[in-house]
């Protein structure tokens, strides 16, 4: 399936979301409450079959925190980007995708560790690299006194 068909199918599967044709892949932006339902639909639909979660990236967009999911279908060899944004910076929460793709386990722990994003329903949400006294270094408002590179 090429990107144009994929965008059309994705728009049907994820009603109420924003589907754009990005520079490389189709990008779907969903509200946090529809994240799991959209991901389930993308995984189970027999035309899309996104059975592999390639990567989960936590991004601080400034006002909002968000995650970017790169999904790939090993059947059709196409990729899609699923995005979601949370505006609550104090206590950001998203639903975990561990039940759909076990690969999400470590990825989500990493996002929690470095951005402080909590995942509801994650089996074992603990800090991964850093200990519990650290802040969340990948947030843009993180104060980094010892970084001599920061402007």
């Amino acid at each position: 399936m090429d990107n144009i068909q994929l965008a059309a199918t994705a728009a049907v599967l994820a009603p109420g979301s924003e589907t754009v044709q990005g520079k490389q892949f189709v990008e779907i932006t969903v509200a946090p409450e529809f994240l799991v339902s959209t991901a389930t639909a993308l995984k189970q639909n027999h035309e899309t079959r996104f059975d592999m979660l390639v990567c989960v990236t936590g991004v601080d967009w400034g006002k909002e925190l968000g995650t970017v999911y790169h999904l790939r279908s090993t059947v059709f060899n196409h990729m899609i980007i699923l995005k979601t944004k949370v505006s609550d910076r104090e206590n950001p929460e998203l639903d975990s995708l561990c039940s759909l793709w076990p690969a999400a386990d470590f990825h989500e722990r990493e996002v929690y560790d470095l951005l402080g994003m909590k995942f509801r329903g994650h089996p074992d949400l603990r800090r991964l690299f850093l200990d519990s006294t650290w802040g969340y270094p990948l947030r843009k408002d993180y104060k980094d006194d010892i970084n001599i590179l920061a402007k």
């Binding site: 390639v54 990567c55 991004v59 970017v68 090993t74 076990p102 690969a103 991964l128 690299f129």
Partner: protein
């Protein structure tokens, strides 16, 4: 005799031991907290972060040319391929097409990198399982590849030979001859590896059927590289989304269905033959052309998000760059293959003996700095 074994009371109590962070068979500072009943593994919990240097955070205050030098330090055995990933992402974002010469040289060096990485895997895997000879043989032959790197790139492991738009320098005049000599030599030596370890009965008894994972689970866990391909998951980026000169060569993607430690080892052994085939197709046909495109001194990527994945010696390395149009990226994410391949260690090792954990962990061929980044 059998009765005597059966009459030994089973240990009822569980206990926990720490393997690492300073343990020779974890190949770096990986700490595994292992729950045991007797000798049987009940649960393995990896604790990571001992070499976490915050590379992704550092990238946010560096320029794109500087980031390349940090990627060497992630998976230091695939340094050249890591460099290539960032360069390809930057070139894609800027819409730069590099010359065929650059593509050929990059591909040859990538395959040499793969060979030396698998040589080191073979050397250390043999050593983990008690065959110290492997270590000497493996490192002896790896030195020849390192010499080729040293002559052309200036560095041995940490090469930093790629830069956005091409290469740092042109290849050394000796490069082609030396590479061909190495392949001629290694075609004779590689069967020796098989005679020494692959066909060894003790080795086969030790690793066959160990840490099995099937194809569906491999996909669900996102396993790539030799680990995924040993389970029959066709995941070679070089085949599915070819970059550089991989669309100009013919090679076979090594696939096995068994998914155990022995076949993960087999995939790597067979991949060395394929890598030599790829190099032989390219080495005599390197076209003339510039070794680097003219680039601005400070590279600014247009606003947007860019993804590039490449096949390192351990699997799919993905680079995800979020740019706002300035000279520094907003966010750089490295989807490192080792980080993903480590995650299912628990389900691989469950039910096996503690000594088998070493063999399973070794067959994943983890590089810890790539996990921690």
């Amino acid at each position: 005799m059998e009765e005597a074994v059966l009459n030994v009371p089973l240990e009822k109590e569980e206990y926990i031991i720490n393997m690492g962070p300073q343990h020779p068979s974890t190949h770096g500072v990986l700490r595994l907290v292992v729950s045991l009943r007797g000798e049987m593994v009940l649960n393995v919990e990896p604790h990571i972060g001992y070499v976490h240097r915050g590379i992704e955070k550092m990238c946010e205050s560096l320029t794109y040319s500087q980031i390349i030098h940090l990627t060497d330090r992630m998976d230091y055995l695939s340094a050249h391929i890591n460099n290539e990933a960032v360069c390809l992402a930057v070139e894609k974002a800027l819409g730069i097409e590099v010359s065929d010469r650059v593509k050929y040289i990059r591909t040859i060096l990538s395959e040499l990198t793969r060979i030396q990485s698998h040589q080191l895997f073979w050397a250390t895997y043999g050593m983990d399982l008690g065959g110290l000879t492997c270590f000497f043989y493996g490192l002896r032959d790896r030195e020849l590849v390192m010499d080729i790197f040293e002559e052309t790139c200036g560095g041995r492991m940490i090469v930093s030979y790629n830069c956005p738009g091409g290469l740092m320098n042109d290849i050394h005049p000796n490069f082609q001859k030396r590479t061909k000599d190495f392949i001629k030599y290694f075609r004779k030596t590689l069967p020796e590896y098989d005679r020494l370890l692959t066909g060894n009965v003790i080795f086969q008894e030790r690793v066959k059927g160990l840490g099995t994972i099937n194809r569906d689970d491999a996909i669900a866990w996102g396993l790539t590289g030799p680990v995924g391909r040993a389970s029959g998951f066709s995941c070679d980026i070089r085949k599915h989304n070819p970059y550089s000169a991989y669309n100009k060569v013919t090679f076979k993607e090594i696939l096995y269905d068994e998914g155990d430690s022995f076949h993960r080892y087999k995939v790597r052994m067979d991949e060395m033959w394929e890598s030599m085939n790829i190099i032989e197709q390219l080495i005599d046909n390197i076209p003339e052309g510039p070794y680097a495109e003219k680039m601005k001194p400070v590279i600014k990527l247009p606003e947007g998000e860019y993804w590039q994945s490449v096949e390192t010696a351990r699997g799919e390395l993905g680079v995800f760059i979020v740019s706002d149009g300035n000279k520094n990226p907003v966010r750089v994410k490295f989807r490192s293959p080792n980080f993903v391949n480590l995650a299912p260690l628990n389900i691989l090792a469950k039910g096996f003996k503690i000594a088998d954990l070493v063999a399973i962990n070794g067959s994943l061929d983890l590089v810890i700095p790539d996990i921690d980044r």
